[in-house]
Amino acid sequence: MAPALVWLAALMVVPCALVLALAFFRRGIYGGIDYTFTLENFGLVFDPLYAGIFLKSARIAGTATLIAVVIGYGAAYAIAAAPRRWQPVFLFFAVLPFWSNYLIRTYAWIVLLNREGLITQLLRWFGYTGEPPSMLYTEGAVIAGLVYNYLPFVILACYAPLSRLNSELAEASRDLGASAATTFRRVILPLTVPGIAAGAVFVFVLSIGNFVTPALLGGGRFQMIGNLVYDQFLTANDWPFGAALAMALIAIMLLVLMAQAMAANRASGQTAETRDGANG
């Protein structure tokens, strides 16, 4: 216990506290920090300009999460339904891209989506002669990059409960008169929700704070909060405001994680409650 607390304090609490403290000071005239207390930085976070970027980030991260969950769950379902001895092979290939560098994986999308990139060339090969479609430096490109990068998390998170699911449960549902679709909705899906939730939280939290993907695939404009924070620290030299933005981001992530923990707790708490009631 004690060593864990020391590590947690040294690596998490102290750095976060330092960033938090930074957010309460003013920016110096020539950059740097003017150590006078202020709440201005937090007020600025709620400025429509920046609040809008928060909302946009949440929308992009939410869309990426939704797409990643649908694709990832489908892939995990297919892998779990494959013959046992093939499952590790399929999982290996699903996770393979993860072992390459994040930057390289993101650059690969530039090659794909470029004006004369692979997709355009493919279209040309099929006889398309018009203007190349503009795909790179769009919100769609950012979402595609995020989905691609975090998909393995979702596949792994969903595969775990799907592979542990007793196949006789689905058979029992069919035997009792349920169609395949009803069986999925009432038996398979509810029993694998914890995996979906874990995968979704992962994708959302990593996406909303992401700055590499929007910087590379979204063009030079501010796409998401991550880029804004990056810019405050490294370009605008406004560390206090950057710190306030970072704190707001951490607050959002904590809220999402807390919501997930509470939902999970309530699910297990319910059973504990009935158990106590039954024994009492």
């Binding site: 007793n166 029992a172 009792l176 509810p190």
Partner: protein
């Protein structure tokens, strides 16, 4: 009594998995309201046959007629047949009540009717106090009753039970055997049970089918299967049997040591062919007072007390394995035996069954 009506006709049904034949041309009829057992060692095809009745496998060949209609290709959710799974397969995220209601909700019955039917079956299976519990909070026996209630509430034409008592301990199993039989009587539904436990099928079934390597060896009442096994495998598989190998003669079997064992020889067995004579442990008498056709002497090797009876291992010159003999506690009181005693054994020719070896 009226002629029993055939509910389900299995007509030359086969099932191949690749090059493996799991079920090989089985034909048998299951009658309305009977308790039918499919018995056999593991790998005999009984579970595959059951899964074809439930609709989870499609026969490679043959027909399955329910009330005269071929259901071999009907999906599981469209047949009036329910299966109680060996693992029970209770939905872990649903309460006992929700598990039992599930099948009726699929029939889109009015909520009121669902409620009253579920209440009734929970009462029958003594599950009312557990209605709001989740499966993980139930004991093995309670889970088994939920699985049963969940299938029975659908009022199927046919209820299939896959090793229903396999997960229970021995004492509970004995109680549940009688309980299942009582319930079957009460609900008036045809039960088909799959088991590898011969004792279980003897106790519960009205009729039973013995399977081996995908083939049907015998289908009859437990009494007939026990007393008149179709072949040596069935004789050995059902209950305990003493075997004496030798050569067939016109009126019995000549054992390896030359002793003549009298018994009825099946017509198919030509004199001189390898044959085996067999007799049940409870048919052998110690110190026979009346003249029996078959006699021998032996030495008591092991003596096991079972309360109701005494089981003796007796070494005789007739077979390399010792004979198993069961005598009642009563008989043992009248004439006590101890291990090491020389005893005389005898049995009637009518109690001898002779098979091709």
């Amino acid at each position: 009594m009226s002629e029993p009506r055939t509910l389900l006709a299995i007509d030359h049904v086969s099932k191949n998995f690749g090059r493996v034949t799991a079920v090989d041309g089985i034909s048998l009829d299951i009658r309305e309201n009977e308790f039918f057992a499919l018995l056999g060692p593991s790998g005999c095809g009984k579970t595959t046959l059951l899964r074809m009745l439930a609709g989870f496998e499609t026969p490679s060949d043959g027909r399955i007629l329910l009330d005269g209609k071929d259901i071999a290709r009907t999906p599981p959710n469209k047949r009036p047949v329910n299966l109680m799974f060996q693992s029970y397969a209770l939905f872990p995220h649903m309460s006992v009540r929700a598990n039992v209601s599930y099948g009726l909700e699929m029939e889109r019955l009015p909520a009121k009717e669902i409620r009253s039917r579920v209440d009734a079956i929970l009462a029958t299976t003594e599950l009312v106090p557990f209605a709001d519990r989740k499966p993980e909070q139930l004991s093995g026996g309670q889970k088994q009753r939920v699985a049963l209630a969940r299938a029975l509430v659908k009022r199927p034409r046919l209820l299939l039970l896959d090793e229903p008592l396999g997960a229970l301990d021995k004492k509970l199993r004995g109680a549940m055997q009688l309980e299942l039989k009582r319930l079957q009587h009460e609900v008036g539904i045809t039960f088909v049970i799959v088991t590898h436990d011969q004792e279980e099928s003897l106790v519960m079934a009205d009729r039973m089918a013995v399977l081996k390597d995908g083939k049907l060896l015998q289908c009859d009442t437990p009494h007939a299967v026990y007393e008149h096994p179709a072949d040596r495998f069935v004789a050995d598989f059902i209950g305990v049997m003493n075997f004496i190998t030798g050569k067939a003669s016109p009126d019995g079997v000549v054992a390896a040591n030359g002793t003549r064992i009298a018994g009825k020889v099946p017509a198919a067995l030509t004199p001189g062919a390898s044959a085996v004579a067999s007799v049940r442990p409870e048919r052998i008498r110690l110190f026979p007072e009346t003249l029996t056709a078959n006699r021998t002497t032996g030495t008591v090797e092991v003596l096991a007390y079972h309360g109701l009876d005494l089981q003796l291992h007796i070494r005789t010159p007739l077979s390399p394995k010792p004979f198993l003999v069961r005598i009642t506690a009563d008989a043992a009181d009248r004439r006590p035996v101890e291990s090491g005693d020389q005893v005389e054994l005898g049995w009637d020719a009518a109690d001898v069954r002779i098979f091709a070896e």
